[in-house]
């Protein structure tokens, strides 16, 4: 039940911005005699309270709200297109300046202005702002685990500069009853522990407390991209439904979790970690309190694109009584999870979640602390106990309250030594309110703009890919030789600064200082280890023979100017080392001239490879012309939907012709590749290539024509459309069989994240989404004395999704109920769907 209240408040406060139906002139040029009645900036998620807006969605919403009153277009003034556009540019400027949040690597924002609610002489102007910002924020603030007491509900508005946080906590579950508490976090400047935190929660039936010190660092190595470590003290007194004594534990733990670099070939990350812990496990269930110590090790991976995400983990724990000489038990747990999000059409996902878990303990039952045995219910224990990694430590059976599924043999023994469980949740969407209106997804110009941004993003990753090549290592080695020249340059610059200089010489020295600093920075950037993306453009400039670009040549030119200035004074002797340095700089520049070529070659396509594709382009043109002719014959376009689709198809046809013309024109080798990519590359389904967009739009136009009783016109499009599809597929296949330049292949892989983000933000993200849910669980506990048999829970529920947060409520029936068991249990879960993975 935790955070349900919060979700409800958000749901109640959010204002849905419907699209006004009042008709306005199609052309804004026709509004020159109108007056502006109102001006608004609207985001898909807007709260009535400005304070709440800032609290939940941070400074961006606040900034936009503050901008509203200072826009160039104002209520009461005549409508002008210039003011309308200027206001849009004001908003774009603000969005361009807005900082990314902590942990936010990409933000995509779209501004669509509109005039609505037109009367005979006035209009309302609305600027709709669609941003990934609020949604990635929502995903970050909500906790993932239903069993821990942490709650990282930390809006930026509540943070001080150092990020000190105190957050309240209120929740409910069947076993604990109503519980409340608080969590405090303090950011520190310590390089070892960057965060100190404490949390407590209590209820009439139990209590929990955590104190921890956490550190993390981006290491950047292939097998250790990111490291996280924690010291943790934890106390639990957890009630068990229908049993009086609580499960009690006290634990002190030291933990490390490492993450490998994500593979470029596909989104897969490996993780590994270990925990050393000691404490007491006591239960009041017939076993005395016992000090114990254990070592846990765990490995796993998370994988898959957004539509099918999976995670697999294995953990092993070796534990013993603190003072015993022999091992007490060895516990193994396996956790497999798969989440499928099928998107048959935009904004209508079908969600299927499945999980398979198993565990076994090697020991005699009496040596295993009760709290370390296997037990479960609708909120099973966690093995790792870290927010960043969840491994289930018992069966999930949602027809039982927390920890109430705990008997293997029907007797009095609490817990078991083996378990198996499988869980399935099916939730098809039946109602949704999209973050980006469906009709916008077909806008040809929006697709074009998105393709531009995603293509530019891909190119930004070329540098990252380049600096990882062996060819670039050679460049770094050669640039290293420049350091001797730089040392000479610095020596006599310092000397000249120590003597009195006439003004012209001082001015020339100042220019050289600037050029020298630029050169020094460029060389240092290239030589930095490990290399980063900034090294690539600096190396490109250092190896350039263009005086406008090369810092080496710019320093040489400045040196020569300084030497000239010195020679014109009584300091001619000082000019000798300056001239020598200028010559050395030019020599160094020449020696670097060819060293960059092998790196450049990795980003250069072989034009001969593309000749076959280029020769096939006329066939594509013929099919386009045939389709264009048939489209021209459709004249009776009265239905609004048909007219809109007709226009959309026309725009895609124009785009395709334009890009095709660029690809057909005699080009330089580099341009052949660029133009073919521009014509044929699909940037996900959110910005498909122009021919694919054209094909999709003509199919939809045909459907609309049939619906408008214009089936004959629809049929006339069949033949040219099929020809176009064949030509497109043929050319796409040919292109696919040509290996891209190595740096381009790598950059496409790196940019896949941005494409997925854009795809999710525009095509998948709903502000609200309602789905019926069906839950099915199967679980079994086994010990040496017996087995629970396969227990089954199943029942209906409802899932409300607010942006990326899923709130699921279900009643799960205990289908093989025994006389002393409940009929079933309510199940509540609050999960974050990681759309932006």
């Amino acid at each position: 039940m935790r955070l349900l209240v919060l979700a409800g408040i958000i749901a109640m406060m959010i204002v849905l911005h419907g699209h006004a139906e009042a008709s306005c002139p199609e052309s804004l040029d026709a509004l020159s005699t109108f007056t502006v009645r109102d001006v608004r900036i609207a985001t898909p998620l807007t709260l009535r309270s400005k304070a709440a807006n800032r609290l939940f969605f941070g400074s961006l919403g606040h900034t936009l709200a503050a901008l509203e009153s200072s826009l160039a277009i104002r209520p009461g003034q005549p409508f002008t297109r210039a003011a309308y556009d200027a206001a849009q540019l004001q908003i774009t400027n603000v969005l361009g300046e807005a900082n990314l949040r902590t942990r936010e690597r990409v933000r995509l924002t779209l501004v669509i202005p509109a005039v609505e609610d037109c009367t005979v002489d006035s209009v309302v102007v609305i600027y709709r702002v669609y941003s990934t910002d609020a949604f990635s924020y929502l995903a970050n603030i909500l906790e993932f685990s239903p069993t821990t007491i942490t709650q990282d509900l930390v809006p930026p508005g509540a943070r001080s500069a150092r990020g000190h946080v105190i957050a309240p906590l209120l929740g409910y579950d069947a076993s604990r009853g109503l519980f409340g508490g608080s969590r405090a976090t303090v950011q520190t400047n310590s390089p070892v522990f960057s965060k100190l935190g404490a949390a407590f929660a209590g209820s009439a039936r139990g209590a929990a407390a955590d104190v921890h010190a956490t550190g993390e660092r981006d290491i950047g190595a292939r097998f250790l991209e990111h490291g996280e470590w924690q010291l943790n003290y934890r106390y639990r007194s957890e009630p068990i439904a229908d049993i009086d004594p609580n499960l009690r534990s006290t634990t002190v733990a030291a933990r490390f979790i490492g993450t490998t670099r994500a593979a470029t070939a596909g989104p897969i990350v490996f993780r590994y970690g270990s925990t050393v812990e000691a404490g007491r496990r006591q239960s009041d269930l017939g076993q005395p309190s016992e000090p114990y110590a254990s070592v846990k090790a765990y490995v796993g991976s998370s994988f898959g694109p957004r539509t099918i995400q999976g995670a697999a983990s294995y953990g092993v724990e070796v534990g013993k009584a603190l003072h015993a000489s022999e091992l007490g038990f060895v516990k193994h747990v396996v956790d497999l999870r798969l989440t499928q999000r099928l998107l048959a059409r935009a904004h209508v996902p079908i969600q299927l979640e499945s999980a398979f878990n198993a565990g076994w303990i090697q020991s005699t039952l009496t040596r295993i602390p009760v709290a370390e045995r296997f037990y479960g219910g609708n909120a099973p224990p966690e093995f790792v106990g870290a927010d960043s990694w969840k491994i289930q430590d018992g069966p999930r059976l949602r027809s039982f309250p927390q920890h109430a599924f705990n008997r293997a043999d029907g007797g009095d023994t609490f817990g078991a030594t083996r378990f198996l469980s499988g869980n399935f949740t099916f939730a098809p969407t039946v109602w949704h309110y999209p973050a980006v209106p469906d009709e916008l997804l077909d806008d040809p110009q929006l697709r074009s703009a998105l393709a531009f941004q995603l293509s530019s993003t891909k190119e930004a990753f070329v540098s990252d890919c380049a600096v990882r090549t062996t060819e670039f290592n050679d460049v770094v080695s050669r640039v290293g030789a420049v350091t001797d020249v730089l040392r000479e340059l610095t020596t006599w610059r310092m000397h000249l600064h120590s003597i009195p200089l006439p003004d012209p010489v001082a001015a020339a020295l100042a220019d050289l200082d600037a050029a020298g600093d630029t050169l020094q920075n460029a060389v240092a950037t290239v030589l930095r280890h490990p290399p980063n993306a900034a090294a690539f453009p600096r190396a490109r400039l250092l190896t350039s023979d263009d005086e406008d670009l090369s810092p080496l040549l710019q320093a040489a030119v400045a040196s020569e100017a300084l030497a000239g200035a010195l020679e014109a004074t009584s300091l001619a002797s000082e000019a000798v080392p300056v001239r020598q340095s200028a010559r050395a700089l030019r020599t160094a520049s020449m020696s670097l001239g060819s060293v960059f070529a092998p790196v450049q070659a990795l980003n250069t396509a072989n034009p001969d490879s593309y000749q076959g594709v280029v020769q096939d382009l006329p066939s594509l043109r013929m099919t386009l012309e045939a389709l264009s002719r048939e489209l021209m014959t459709i004249t009776a376009v009265h239905a609004e939907e048909v007219a809109l689709l007709f226009e959309t198809a026309g725009a895609h046809l124009t785009d395709t012709f334009r890009k095709l013309s660029a690809a057909e024109a005699p080009n330089s080798p580099a341009e052949i590749y660029d133009d073919l990519e521009s014509l044929m590359t699909d940037w996900g389904r959110v910005a498909p290539s122009s021919p694919r967009s054209l094909i999709e739009s003509v199919h939809r136009l045909q459907d609309a024509l049939v619906a408008a009783n214009l089936a004959a016109a629809a049929r006339r499009l069949d033949a040219p459309l099929q020809e176009l599809e064949r030509a497109f597929v043929r050319i796409a296949d040919r292109l696919r069989n040509i290996r891209r330049p190595a740096l381009q292949s790598c950059a496409f892989g790196e940019a896949a994240f941005a494409v997925r983000v854009a795809d999710a933000a525009f095509r998948e993200l709903n502000i609200f989404q309602l789905s019926p849910a069906w839950v099915l669980d199967i679980a079994r506990l086994t010990s040496d004395t017996g087995t629970s048999g396969a227990r089954v829970g199943s029942g209906p529920g409802l899932r409300l999704s607010i942006a990326t947060v899923d709130v699921t409520v279900a009643y799960v029936f205990n289908l093989r109920r025994r006389p002393d068991e409940r009929r079933g249990a309510f199940f509540f879960s609050l999960d974050v769907t990681d759309l932006f993975r």
Binding site: S27, L28, D29, R81, Y84, D85, Q88, L89, I91, T92, N93, L95, G96, E97, A98, N99, L100, R105, V106, R107, L108, T109, L110, V111, I112, D443, Q445, L446, A449, L450, A451, F452, Q453, S455, S456, T457, E459, A460, V462, S463, D464, A514, T518, N532, A533, A534, P537, R538, R540, L541, D548, L549, N603, E647, K659, A662, D674, L743, A747, A754
Partner: protein, 115 residues
């Protein structure tokens, strides 16, 4: 129906070294129903004392539709982005803090996108 419709798309990226943000925005305005005007906005932001701070923000208006469309079709190439991160930003860094207009640097950016 109007051929030109106003639209703006902004992509903000945190660079791999976590010390620089680059924001690329394309703003499409309409002089009238048939005439586009593109504004390309470039923002360079450095991590200083633990906070990202704007060094310089520049805006280039492109009135030549064919060149703007060609840029939109192809996207910015790696060499153009490198140039934005190199000579242009080096020059931008030497501008006084808070500079919003610099014709010489604006011309450099315009030259890049018009290549």
């Amino acid at each position: 129906m109007a051929k030109c419709k106003e639209l703006s798309v902004t992509l903000a990226l945190l660079m791999p070294d976590n010390k620089r943000q680059i924001s690329l925005a394309v703003n499409r305005g309409c002089i009238d129903d048939n005439t586009f005007v593109f504004d390309i906005i470039f923002v360079l932001r450095d991590l200083v004392d633990g906070e990202f701070q704007d060094r310089v923000k520049l805006r280039v208006t492109i009135g030549d539709q064919s060149k703007a469309q060609a840029l939109m079709d192809r996207g910015l190439k790696a060499s153009q982005l490198d140039f934005l991160q190199g000579p242009v930003t080096n020059k931008a860094k030497r501008l006084p803090e808070g500079t919003t207009k610099d014709p010489a640097t604006e011309k450099k950016i315009a030259d890049i996108v018009n290549q």
